[in-house]
């Protein structure tokens, strides 16, 4: 009851922190898409490159987020960005690489060779093939990768409150340090709702992006 009262009294604060949260994740994932998708496309050309890149990315993702934040403090402090928004965004960009690169890579690599051949046979240039055949077919899977990245990084961003990046995690960190269950629960519930809502929304987008002809079973 108290918690509800607290949440009600602080609706605008919750709203602005949620926006901070969304801003970090969306800016970072957008940048990650701009880097990850081209990398994913590029590594379809070489199995060795693919193995190496995917391996690096999967190693990155195993590093606990708070440890990554910690590692960035000494690295970014000299240019004055040891804590706050910037390291949070960088961490999210790094964590997003694996799901986005991997899904782009597998989606393109899994395009039926017959379709690719048909494209060549009809005289499409490699670029036309990519635009008209491969990307549309790979779109749902790439989108699934983006969705994975976003949902995962909503969680990462919550922890970024500890390096002063703001967002909904701030309620949790204050709730813990001030032993104030109202803030703590508000934060935990809000960030969970955000994650679930975004997940469902992106699932919907993913469905929209699936070409009508292949509406069945998209591997996430």
């Amino acid at each position: 009851m108290e918690t509800l009262q607290f949440a009600y009294d602080n609706l605008s604060l919750i709203g602005s922190r949620a926006l901070e949260h969304i801003a970090i994740v969306s800016v970072a994932v957008s940048i990650a898409v701009l880097t990850g998708v081209p990398i994913g496309l590029a590594i379809t050309q070489s199995k060795r490159a693919a193995d190496f890149v995917l391996y690096l990315a999967s190693m990155l993702i195993t590093i606990p987020s708070i440890a990554l934040f910690g590692l960035m403090i000494p690295l970014l402090s000299p240019i004055g960005y040891g804590i706050g928004y910037v390291p949070a965004v960088i961490a999210v960009i790094l964590y997003s690489q694996l799901p986005i690169i991997r899904n782009t890579y597998t989606a393109i690599a899994d395009v039926d060779p017959a379709l690719r051949e048909a494209g060549i046979g009809m005289g499409m240039s490699p670029l036309q093939r990519l635009r008209q055949v491969e990307i549309p077919l790979a779109m749902p899977v790439i989108m699934a990768g983006i969705r994975t990245a976003v949902v995962m990084n909503i969680g990462v961003t919550a922890i970024a409150a500890y390096i002063g990046a703001g967002g909904l995690g701030t309620f949790i960190s204050r709730g813990i340090s001030q032993t104030d269950p109202r803030q703590l629960i508000t934060g935990a519930v809000a960030v969970s709702i955000l994650a679930i809502a975004v997940d469902l929304f992106l699932a919907f987008v993913q469905k929209l992006l699936t070409p009508k002809g292949l509406a069945t079973g998209v591997a996430a």
């Binding site: 193995d51 000299p78 997940d199």
Partner: protein, 262 residues
């Protein structure tokens, strides 16, 4: 890092599940500890801190590291001995109708940030080791259950039919056909789950369960770089090492005929 688990349903698309990619990457795996070490040395060099500054925390590292490992071991162990049987039970024909709903809930549950899980555990159970282990267990459980379930469900029907036709008992079908053929997917789930477990373990400090998180969070709060690094480096190493070990187990324990890595 919170949720690698959205690796998802590895069974339907094994290639998506390969965290490392292929066998080749496994050879690269031996490089990892070195890479981390090089990075650490780089940081020292960059910041002008010397290893001695960090090594002043040696005692803390050993003590808190022990706590950290214990937390991961308890929570991970619990998640294994509960999650795998739960996945097995859910995959049985008798539970098929309810299992889909359960899995839906689980999928939704796995989107909940781990910090939120830990925070909620503190509100519900108080502070200390027990709530922390409980929270870690919750966060670790889902991928194990899900992959066990999907792994078993995705064993091709025809294999079960062939086994039946040759006179295997239901128990023999399970242990000789279904389980070994689901093993790779189950291992992928375990790997994901333990990565989450190790990644979340530093947060246990926040609810009074100690661990290496103590050095990290305190280091950040006090802007005490050697202390921070004394927590960060072992934490990262531990995470990478755990993943490496589970990866090796997966590589060697999953029968060659169904192991896409070999």
């Amino acid at each position: 890092m919170s949720d690698v688990s959205v690796d998802k349903v590895a069974g339907t698309a094994p290639r998506l599940a390969l965290r490392g990619g292929t066998g080749r990457a496994y050879k690269l795996g031996r490089l990892i500890p070195w890479l981390v070490l090089i990075a650490a040395v780089g940081i020292w060099w960059f910041t002008g801190d010397t290893p001695e500054d960090i090594l002043t925390y040696q005692e803390d590292i050993v003590y808190l590291g022990g706590q950290h490992i214990a937390l991961v071991a308890y929570a991970g162990g619990l998640a294994l001995i509960t999650g795998i049987p739960a996945g097995m039970i859910l995959s049985r024909p008798a539970f098929r109708r309810s299992s889909e709903i359960v899995l839906q809930v689980f999928n939704l549950g796995s989107t909940i940030p781990t910090l939120a899980i830990i925070a909620l555990c503190m509100t519900a159970l108080g502070i200390g080791t027990m709530p922390a282990v409980f929270g870690l267990w919750m966060a670790t459980l889902l991928p194990i259950v899900r992959n066990t379930y999907t792994g078993l469900r995705n064993v091709p029907k025809m294999l079960i039919e062939a086994a039946q036709g040759m006179g295997m008992t239901p128990r023999q079908i399970f242990w000789r056909v279904e389980f070994p053929n689901a093993l790779f997917v189950i291992f992928s789930g375990i790997r994901t789950a333990l990565a989450i477990c190790v990644g979340t373990a530093p947060l246990a400090f926040l609810i009074g369960a100690g661990g290496l998180g103590e050095l990290i969070f305190t280091g950040i709060a006090l802007d005490e770089l050697p202390m921070l690094l004394a927590g960060v480096i072992p934490t990262a190493l531990l995470a990478v090492l755990t993943d490496f070990i589970v990866g090796q187990l997966q590589y060697w324990l999953v029968p060659k005929g169904i192991n896409p890595l070999r």
